[in-house]
Amino acid sequence: QTVLTVSAEQTTTWVRNFNPFGQTSARFTTLDFIYEPLVVFNRLKGNEPHFRLAESFELADDLKSITFKLRDGLKWSDGEPLTADDVVFTYDYIKKFPALDFISISAQLASVEKVDDTTVRFNLNEPNSLIANTIVSMPIVPAHIWSKIDDPVTFANENPVGSGPLTEITRFTPQVYEQCRNPNYWDATNLAIDCMRLPQLADNPQVLAALAEGSLDWATSFIPDIDNTFVAKDPEHHKYWFTPSSLVSFQLSMTTPDENNRKAFNDVNFRRALSMLIDRQTIVDIAGYGYPLVNEDPSGLGELYKAFANPEVATQFGQYGKFDKDAGIALLDSSGYVDANGDGFRDNPDGTPIAIDIEVPNGWTDWIDAVQISMETLQEAGINVKMSTPEAAVWTQDLIDGKYSMTLNALAAAANPYFPYIRSFNPGDFGKSRFTAPHWDNAEVMDLLGKYTQVKDPAEQKALMDKAQMIVAEALPLIPVYNSPSFYEYNTKRFTGWADAENPFISPVVSNANPGRLIQLLALRPVSQ
């Protein structure tokens, strides 16, 4: 029996919950491994699809519907057939129980209809060229099981019936659980793993200890000083590969309650000067142990969305994304931000004082470190900044309401820069989501993004995206700092076939936000002893 030992999730006790709709409560091996997605989009390869339950999909020309074709002969792990009925059932189900709809997709769908036993059509409310990305992240559940569940929100699904490679829970204790081969898995020939074992590990140091002694094969965990603490223990087998992920940026509220601050924040020169005063490399090296990737792209795309980047951005506005203390100070001086009242801090050109309070959630230490490092240069440049660390919920609320002056904020990685842009700038989300924290209202960008989902031609799409980038880069509503890494540690002693920098065939991070892990799992081969 081939057993793969994995740490995907840190906790002090295992709770038997495999409800795929339970975002915060289900075991992190539920999605992808128990409930196989229709398609896995490969972010590392420009969203190239790996077809899983679906063998193809097709977007209608008017972009108002999308049709998925399932493979023939799919079976649930209990032997029942998996058909288009199950897909339709699932979407009806999340409409009936909105608490299950963790990606809020129902709102975008007009209807979901079965075309034949293996074909399903999703009719959209609005044309959307990117809808497939969203649809595939909703798990499909077996109708014959879930139709009998009275309260699916609290249902723990202790003995899951699924479609993925590893559906059988053979052992479950608070300390460890094992998830084994699905007897009816459609892609069994490619699956070389019999079981996955998940020991309960409570925090980073424990994961590190397990990794260092070689008992873990695959993990995702922050590890300090990884070359010394992990790799050096067995350089031949202990490996890691960190890929850039969510964007961390400084943000200023354009609607901040303080009138004087608001004046400065709405001045692009002030924002540019701030950006030039952020020592990104030091932040990455010290607050991030060198793991994150510096993001000096004023449009915010950076390394993560390199494929979509408009080279014009760098030539025209590139200097505003780079740390240059002198230039930053000079820009402040030339724009009239000088110390008018002699208190040692720079004031607005009209003489009113600026006092910035950078909010970071309590306990988010790497961010706190990053802010502390940034404050040093900002203070040296004469800007009145301090830091406060409210409760995460308070911070979230402040960001949603735009009632803060400055903050660090993060945006999850996505398949396409469209997503970070729409999440950050959509005025419809002002007051609803913390991602729109800057409250930067730009009709032109919104217009471009709206068109972006409604055209199918890649060239046309690129033109739209290029234009949007220029506007964003010029206005600098977000001050990018770095892309945080997604952590991926692995051990080649017992298994081969790992994705790495040389062979980046898929994103191999085992966290439950990355469906690519399914492809990685199937690529693993035991090392013959």
Partner: protein, 292 residues
């Protein structure tokens, strides 16, 4: 006070404490680095430039230690004072007034005593969020006075039976005066022990709360130092100086206060005193000058 200075434990304790206080007062003179600026590479081991090495962020550990003493002392003594005042006032009132007043105070005291203190503090601090040292001191004071009330009350109960309280009553002294001028001066040692004990408790608890991540990261205090070191995995990366420095500082402060407390106890209760006479006694017995 003179008795304190005759007590060896008190002298050692006071010396350490005064040293720590002096260090805290003259912190800026003692350090060449700012405690909140990066002045070196991360996690440098102790060296000539950085006596106690640097933190993960590259702050000078010695500088933070010295400046951190201020917060630890301020919270310790501030909260200790508040705890003692509340405890003493309520204790004297309950013990002296008796009756319904006593019943009520006593009920609340016992209530507070049976609610586990640290967990409650933890929850309060978490709910309040970004608990600055001042906030910590205040919630400490509001939740930790009960022990003081209990001991002060029981001592007051025994003092109020003493005839000098009665004679003050017979002279027609108002009751506030009896509490403040007749009873209180006789509680000095209890109050002193309560105070020092509360200071120890406050110092420890502040450090604990901050260590658990419920403090304000803007502060430079020993608890925050512990928190940062723990967060930077100081132990697993071998930066022992980062973690052990605040540990030893806290231990030293705790020890000095405990010594003082012990000494006050000995002074208040002559039976506990050992003093030099026992040494002399042992020597004399050994010399054959006599026996028991």
């Amino acid at each position: 006070m003179r008795q304190l200075l005759n007590n060896k434990k008190a002298v050692v304790g006071l010396t350490i404490l005064i040293l720590i206080i002096l260090v805290a007062v003259f912190a800026p003179l003692l350090t060449e680095y700012s405690p909140v600026k990066r002045v070196g590479r991360p996690h440098q081991p102790p060296s000539w430039e950085h006596w106690l090495g640097t933190t993960r962020l590259g702050h000078d550990v010695f500088s933070r230690l010295v400046h951190g003493a201020r917060i630890s002392l301020a919270v310790g003594f501030g909260a200790g004072l508040m705890i003692t005042i509340i405890g003493t006032v309520l204790g004297i009132i309950a013990g002296y007034k008796g009756g319904v007043v006593d019943e009520i105070i006593n009920f609340f005291t016992n209530m507070v005593l049976v609610v586990p203190n640290l967990p409650l503090l933890l929850v309060l601090a978490a709910f309040i969020g970004q608990a600055s040292p001042l906030v910590i001191a205040v919630i400490l004071a509001l939740t930790s006075w009960a022990w003081g009330v209990r001991v002060t009350r029981s001592e007051t109960l025994s003092i109020r039976q003493r005839d000098f309280v009665k004679s003050a009553e017979m002279l027609g002294e108002p009751s506030w005066r009896i509490m403040a001028f007749e009873i209180f001066p006789n509680l000095i040692s209890i109050v002193g022990i309560n105070f020092i004990g509360s200071v120890i408790f406050a110092v420890i608890t502040e450090a604990t709360l901050e260590f658990l991540g419920l403090g304000d990261p803007n502060t430079v205090s020993w608890g925050i130092m512990l928190y940062n070191a723990q967060n930077a995995s100081a132990l697993s990366v071998g930066a022992w100086w980062d973690l052990l420095t605040p540990c030893f500082a806290l231990a030293l402060l705790g020890l000095s206060l405990a010594l003082i407390n012990f000494a006050i106890d000995e002074i208040a209760n002559p039976r506990l005193r050992t003093g030099g006479m026992l040494n002399r006694w042992t020597r004399m017995v050994r010399l054959g000058e006599g026996k028991l």
